[in-house]
Assembly symmetry: C2
Homo-oligomer: 430 residues x 2
Amino acid sequence: MINIVKLDDKNKNYYTDNLKSRAEAVQKDVVIAVEKILENVKENGDKAVIEYTNKFDSNTINSSNIKITKEEIEKAYTVVEREFIDAIKLSKENVWFYHEKQKQKSWMVTKEDGIMLGQQIRALDTVGIYVPGGTAAYPSSVIMNTIPAKVAGVKKVVMVTPPSKDGTINPNILVAADIAGVDEIYKVGGAQGVAALAYGTESIPKVDKIVGPGNIYVAMAKRSVYGFVDIDMIAGPSEILVISDETGDPKYIAADLMSQAEHDVLASSILVTTSSELAIKVKEELEVQVKALSRKDIITASLKDYGAIFVVENMKEAIELSNLIAPEHLEVMVKEPFSILGELKNAGSIFLGKYAPEPLGDYMAGPNHVLPTSGSAKFFSPLSVDDYIKKSSFIYYSQEGLKKVKDPIVKIAETEGLTAHANSIKVRFE
Amino acid sequence: MINIVKLDDKNKNYYTDNLKSRAEAVQKDVVIAVEKILENVKENGDKAVIEYTNKFDSNTINSSNIKITKEEIEKAYTVVEREFIDAIKLSKENVWFYHEKQKQKSWMVTKEDGIMLGQQIRALDTVGIYVPGGTAAYPSSVIMNTIPAKVAGVKKVVMVTPPSKDGTINPNILVAADIAGVDEIYKVGGAQGVAALAYGTESIPKVDKIVGPGNIYVAMAKRSVYGFVDIDMIAGPSEILVISDETGDPKYIAADLMSQAEHDVLASSILVTTSSELAIKVKEELEVQVKALSRKDIITASLKDYGAIFVVENMKEAIELSNLIAPEHLEVMVKEPFSILGELKNAGSIFLGKYAPEPLGDYMAGPNHVLPTSGSAKFFSPLSVDDYIKKSSFIYYSQEGLKKVKDPIVKIAETEGLTAHANSIKVRFE
């Protein structure tokens, strides 16, 4: 179970290093296996994709049933609970509302002499979404990866996901994909799914960007095709950090710490508090509440290895530690949560007050739940509409405008030894 | 010299594949050498950095002179031309003006029941800029990589660059760095320079992001530290594509094609025109103008291997080909350039009209000259202020607000098998 630790410089570094060490290391044998799959799919298209799918997932898949049909979607709706459908629709609505606010506009400015400068914003044309199969199949992840693409204006969203042994896809996933607006779904997973999206096959369209979580083979395949297509961040194990003073409710805090601990034995759940009394109460609550939870063993292991309750001298120290760890999820359960918001520099998503538990953000509040992990909130951002657009700058100059800057351009070009650059300016004034 | 080609489906694909093939392949022996350097610097800090610098660049460097002093900067100003200083200052001003327009604002929205949702925008704390040494030392590159960071509000910009054999740095680079506002400069290059920025040493601060071009060792080192810190795109060889109708000036077009061809034998310069008469005239102009240019051999080789003049049936075909190639630089020299701007979907920077030659964008117009290459303009964007910020979302819910979405959250959590997620909501209403 979790340890209560008095913060000092030594354990501060221990914990931040410990968290970072969970980030996925490149595994040589996986890389070799993945490269082989990528090459085979690039070369042989559908044939390779179907061979791998038959071998790894289901021997029922062929080129005529690899694409999910309308009938399969309709059937999924008949076996899924009505309440689940309504919940996913509400989630979509809230996620759409929030992401709409992120939309950037193209712009243009004019300067003297008729000069015009601008920036065009355009949606990516086609995006691929990877959705894991089996127990790691999360409908909420389909919503979070698809909606920002749709808000951005992406024309075609293509989903790939490995089929079960009997050749079917989890109906909850199919319903979530349909509600989210996914345009095409293919029954293929693993590195071969990533390869199909990156290179295109006879059945599966080539995309501009691949997003979504997956196992080590999927992660390595995404890494390999990066540059040829764009990819999202490689996500690490989940994290929550709670900052609380003596006003925090130990019952809520314990429940929230465990909501991340249940994801994975590598997940990290940390409480930083100014109250040693609260620290003890939260520990007690964890011991009580964990008993009733189905993922008890994962939670206990995760709290033991990567969990901690830090007792600090004051709020300033708590904020410093949080900024150092840069957690994926940061809950602020202090008397006046907004009073410290401006000082929280590094975090994926910040949950303010008693009634903003982390799972609210996972499913319903609107902000994206795809967030930077392993301290990367120092430089990475939540998945957003910005991840589904690209920009072009544009420049219009008049003869008069160019004439005024002719000499400085020639000067810099010649200093850099680029005489053909200088020539391109000079020929216009000969 | 360049070929004139009538566009058909076969050569269309040949050219796009040919351009993509120039993208940097991962070289195994380089990767191994780079990994060793990274590990050594991570372990031994300054000691390793200085050993490598003494070995590869200059044996004059030690821990007391690795950091550029105020005196060295002042000395640089005394040996650099007055006109160059003024040109760089004007460039800074124009680049600053354009990038100011890119700044995003933090925002917040309120919903019923006191719900508040928002997105905080913050500058990265510390950024590292890699600047190559020797003949590839471009002061304009220092401006383009530094100014967006300063506009974003980055607190500290740290530059690394390999010293010459005598232990000095190109004075043009020092002056440009000083004008751009670089805060600290260190005499270290190669993979060891990247390692120092990624891990920090006794002398050199750890950064959040590393940007700037470099050789294959630098590129591989950046790839390796990605995730531990952020990096910019890995840039490929330069490209220009010119779209022109019969109104294009062959003299200008030839000069502009060569301004990119001179960068590298791998650079690609392509003209797409509806006028076969113009095609012939441009070819003639290339043959005339190249004779007077100092980089004649590079230009001739580049135009031969990766250059082409495509004659197409109509403007629609020209636009389609340009969108397929997705060039880094796109010049539009047609009668009414703005009339087709909206159809140009994939390009790093678009130059409109006769008086917007590519070198204007490299040095002076304002938009960034760090641009996506090798067809990646389909999904990547010019370097911008957005590359020096990070976002955090935030969520505030009232008890009433949470109560209304309690059941849908629990439903999704339980469907996903995440009972501790459901528990975190439930405990708040027990």
